[in-house]
Amino acid sequence: MLEITNLSHVYGGGSPNAHHAIEGLNLSVAAGELLCIVGPSGCGKSTLLRSIAGLITPTGGQIKVEGDLVRQTPDNLAVVFQDYSRSLFPWMSVADNVALPLRRKNMDKKARREAAHEALESVGLAGAERKYPFQLSGGMQQRVAIARALAYRPSLMLMDEPFGSVDAQTREDLEDLVLKVRGHHRMTIVLITHDIDESVYVGDRVVVLSKAPAHVVGDLKVDLPGPRDQITTREHPDFVHLRAEVGRLVRGHAAAA
């Protein structure tokens, strides 16, 4: 599904304060897989995501989605940006924000509205349809961004710290929602998170990135019995072990992968 070879990216190339964000990164994700990426702040995770989405052109290496080299944004892709509040359109109501991308889907107006409603309901925002983004709390805005991506039903979904601004309970619900939707619609998901527990709980695989310039320092398969469940899964001994392993990798105490 996704094939990244020898990727590197330099910001401000040529200038004296050029910044090597990514260097020699290799990664592949199978179709239907849910890959979690963890790594220190500022290491280059968002840069990686943007490269996959075709929003920036990496300075080296290549990215293939379903065999095609990414030059522009690949088809059927959705992104939940880290800076969710700026990614919402302030001039549109919440429902319109969610429904807008569906115009690419050959849906009529009614179908779009219904899909938007359904997605908003699934993230716990039924009733906020007619509000404008500035009338929502931070966590609610983040959930609108998630709903927009979910309603789109992409085949590849990129999520950049999608649950950072919601409370623990909602976070768990959203994690389960993503797992459910993934199962139903066979999406491939790449999810960046800082929560190690979360990465192990939702991920089929967890990839740990190094400090900048980012490259892969750990790649763990998560083999937990499904379906996952917030209580039993998190108590499973493998979970506890994996989470410790990821923690060690993040802290740089593990041998390079």
């Binding site: 590197s8 330099v10 190339g13 040529g14 090597h20 260097e23 020699g24 052109t57 300075t59 080296g60």
Partner: protein, 286 residues
């Protein structure tokens, strides 16, 4: 492996750089090409047309040369008429622009930031904004008399509006969270104004200033129609018009066009310096 990656990256950067440079060169070349083609078309059409009202550009250029630029080296090749007419015009324009822009910024900030100032001033300003200056020439004349004062007042009165309105718009659209941040840290009014409001208003202010730059050229010409004027590009231009000396009139037009173009380029240089952060931050997407 790391070393090779680095080499590859460097090469990539070099490639990108040269691509960018080549792109810049191509754009510039393209621009000149467009200009040259247009001038050729102009020359051909006017020659075919043969109308005295539309002299060919070659004739205009010759006229400009003899009229203004065939002087001695000691005056930088400027002729006496050039010194007599072009320099005062430029001075008027610069002074009028400076005064009008300053007034526009100050009033724009006041109206954009203070509800009180807005209430008191908005009606009167909107009224004044709609008033055609030619109708007020008599009033200008009795208040300011012949000459420079009336001309400057005339220029300022005309160019203040785009700066004022755009500045007010900018001042009103400052990101609310920025203002809240200022408030939280109890920045003084002056600090807020200088460090936060002004910088975030600048992009819109510059849109107004850019409009004002060429507007100041236009109203400079109009100001030189004011009674009692004895010099200036506008004076020469309208004099040529009244004498049906159309080639001289076109020389004035072309001179204004060239000046407008140069002023705009100058403006863009200043803008790029002042708004560097703005352009860079807008480059998130490459």
């Amino acid at each position: 492996m790391k070393a090779t990656a680095e080499v590859a990256t460097r090469a990539a950067i070099a490639r990108r750089d040269s691509v960018a440079r080549r792109k810049g060169v191509r754009t510039a070349a393209f621009r000149w090409l467009v200009l040259v083609v247009l001038i050729l078309v102009w020359e051909t059409v006017t020659r075919v047309l043969g109308s005295a009202f539309f002299p060919p550009p070659s004739m205009i250029v010759v006229r400009m040369y003899t009229m203004w630029f065939s002087g001695p080296p000691s005056t930088l090749f400027l002729t006496d008429p050039a010194i007599e007419h072009i320099l005062p015009s430029l001075g008027r324009m610069a002074a009028g622009f400076a005064g009008g822009a300053l007034a526009g910024v100050v009033l724009g900030l006041a109206v954009g930031l203070s509800a009180r100032a807005y209430d008191y001033l908005d009606g009167v300003l909107q009224f004044l904004r709609a008033i055609p200056p030619p109708a007020l020439i008599t009033v200008f004349l009795v208040v300011f008399g012949f000459g420079l004062k009336a001309q400057l007042a005339f220029i300022m009165f005309s160019i203040v509006w785009p700066v004022l309105l755009n500045t007010a718009d900018g001042a009103r659209s400052v990101e609310p969270l920025h203002l809240q941040t200022c408030q939280v840290f109890r920045l003084t009014r002056a600090e807020r104004l200088r460090r936060v409001i002004l910088p975030s208003t600048l992009p819109k202010m510059f849109a107004g200033l850019r409009l004002a730059v060429s507007l100041s050229l236009i109203v400079m010409v109009f100001s030189e129609l004011l009674p009692g004027t004895t010099d200036g590009i506008g004076f020469q231009l309208t004099f040529a018009k009244s004498q049906s000396d159309l080639t001289a009139m076109w020389a004035g037009i072309v001179l204004l066009g060239v000046l407008g173009y140069l002023l705009n380029e100058l403006f863009l240089v200043v803008e790029r310096r002042v708004l560097g952060w703005h352009h860079a931050a807008q480059q998130l997407t490459e």
